[in-house]
């Protein structure tokens, strides 16, 4: 079977959708050179009327997309760096995501906000390394964090077809991933439907985005002593609470692995919901970045702040003890 990389999956999903629906257009920076490679070949394929080269005016072009969406288009905005999503937080959260409700359902704002570069990269420093998924989930913006090339394809297609704003976050750590794929089988993946990557009976690890692969590695390492189920929600809002409940019905034990900051993070919400509403036979644990984490620029400092497989292993052992 042919190999599909995560980055190529995003490129393929976007290209397939643009072929299918002429109302879709892309806007972002460095489009003529497809700097991130997500739009590689698109300027030639779709032309400058559908691949809009934008100046450094993120707030402006995010609002521009809102306007075009209300006038019947399906914009896809590419952000090269995760902090740009904080720069345009107002435009997404306080404007695009509220305009449907504020109009009593008169309009929809079908914009896709794609950042194929969230999380940490060695030496890129404090302002290029955040994880922002919990912020969007907290404020009710549909948000997906695909972990695999197949899911990246399917979730980006769904995000583009969705009639509301959707944030699509690809972790830097996911981009080199390659997967054997039957191209004919690539298909949209609904929002709010998680995926059990590995079945188990003793303990559920919920992992977000690229850390699904860390969870799978730990599950394999510990296979001789414990049967770990690895649950990937795929979309963090809406979240597949039914899928999580079904997993905990099987295992009764929970550890959450999330590369976001600890306080008010996604892991906190997952633990709280499981504690309130689901079957747990032992107190759950989370493995996250520290509270208030700001990574620096020295990789030696930074990696000390990122959740590790060793921490996950320790958390699994502790939850099993109780």
């Amino acid at each position: 079977m042919p190999k599909l990389s995560y980055l190529k999956a995003l490129n393929r999903a976007l290209g397939d959708e643009m072929e299918r629906d002429p109302s879709i257009f892309v806007l972002g920076e460095d489009m003529h050179h497809a700097l991130t490679n997500v739009t590689a070949g698109f300027m030639e394929r779709f032309g400058a009327e559908r691949i809009l080269e934008m100046p450094l005016t993120e707030q402006g072009f995010t609002n521009f997309a809102t306007g075009a969406a209300m006038a019947g288009r399906r914009p896809v905005i590419e952000f090269q760096i995760p902090f740009l999503l904080l720069l345009v937080f107002e435009q997404i959260v306080n404007q695009a995501n509220k305009f449907r409700l504020m109009s009593g359902g008169q309009t929809s704002v079908p914009v896709t906000y794609l950042c194929p570069a969230v999380g940490w990269r060695a030496g890129w420093g404090a302002q290029h390394s955040d994880q922002v998924h919990a912020l969007f989930a907290h404020l009710g913006v549909k948000t997906v964090v695909p972990a695999t090339p197949t899911d990246a394809y399917g979730l980006l297609v769904t995000a583009i077809r969705d009639d509301d704003p959707v944030v699509v976050l690809g972790a830097l750590a996911s981009l080199p991933l390659r997967e054997d794929v039957d191209f004919a089988a690539l298909a949209p993946i609904p929002l709010g439907v998680g995926r059990v990557h590995r079945e188990g009976s003793d303990l559920t690890v919920v992992a977000i985005g690229h850390q699904v692969h860390d969870a799978l590695a730990v599950a394999e390492d510990l296979a001789g002593e414990v049967s770990i189920e690895v649950f990937d929600p795929r979309s963090v809002h809406p979240f597949d609470w039914d899928g999580l409940a079904a997993s905990l019905d099987r295992t009764g034990r929970l550890v959450v692995l999330d590369d976001g900051n600890r306080s008010c993070g996604l892991a906190a919400e997952i633990l709280a919901t499981a504690a309130e509403e689901m079957r747990l036979v032992a107190p759950p644990k989370r493995v996250t970045r520290p509270e208030s984490a700001v990574v620096g620029a020295s990789p030696q400092l930074d990696v000390a702040l990122l959740p590790t497989r060793q921490q996950l292993t320790a958390a699994v052992h502790q939850v099993l003890k109780t």
């Binding site: 707030q59 402006g60 609002n63 306007g67 504020m102 109009s103 359902g105 008169q106 969705d162 509301d164």
Partner: protein
Amino acid sequence: MSDARHPERLYRMIRLIRRFEERSIDLVRAGEIQSGIHACIGQEAVPTGVCATLTPDDVLLSSHRGHGHLLAKGCDPDTVLAEMAGRVTGVDKGRGGSFHPSDFAAGVYNATGTVGHGAAIAAGVAWALRQDGGDRVVVSIFGDGAVTQGALLEGFNLASLMKLPVVYVCENNGYATTLPVASGVGGTITGRGEAFGIPSSTVDGQDVETVLAAAEEAVARARAGDGPSLLEFRTYRYEGHHTFELKARLRYRPPEEIEAWRARDPMVIQAARLPGPVRERLDAEVEEIVERAVRFAVESPFPDPVDALDHLYTTGPTPRPGLSLC
């Protein structure tokens, strides 16, 4: 008389906005409009003159002081007032209110509360309309307080760069809430447009015929594909920034300044151009419309609290409640 640019129609619209706002303030005092309002009394000639140049298919993006914009763009006073009063019969089903009303059927796409941000939204709408073909234009209205917002300037840049059919309308009423323009704006308002290569002019906003002439030129430029314009209308609000000033009694405007602007009341200026009997007939028509709107608003039901998050998403998900009892 059927042409919105007819002097009688111009007067009638100014009068409609004036009486609509005066009666809305009554409803604020009576507790029927709980948010309070940003009244546009004194500024009526600007939306009246600008919107007289538009077709129903043209698009307008409004501001927090937007009731006059909606009425001039052709929205139904009944559903606009019901919206301000938070009723389910409102044009936005009670979800937009006085601050953020929209009426897509009438071409009012919205009034974002984030001051100045409508300018860049307008650029996106204009780009899409141009792609659709035809000669529809977009009008983005904001106050003088918006010109110190970066997002507005980003909108100017995109509109100029892409030569979009947008008319930017600044209602310069002299104050951003309590801050005088001279204390908040470095340089000039039109200088901002000119810096981006946008034809910009300062125009008397109290005489609706002058407003109309300036708007016709700018709208014609947009329709012809010659790009955006910026019109700074010098105007004044006779009321406070918001009806909370009825109680707050702020003292940021000299009484003589208010009196000087009252001497140039846009309603009086246009009324002077009409014969008395014509004016009286139009006034009676307006009273009937406004009183019907008041009755419609106050007699309409409130939305059902069960539906509080209706319209949040176009498709799924149903938000989880704040209390989980399972």
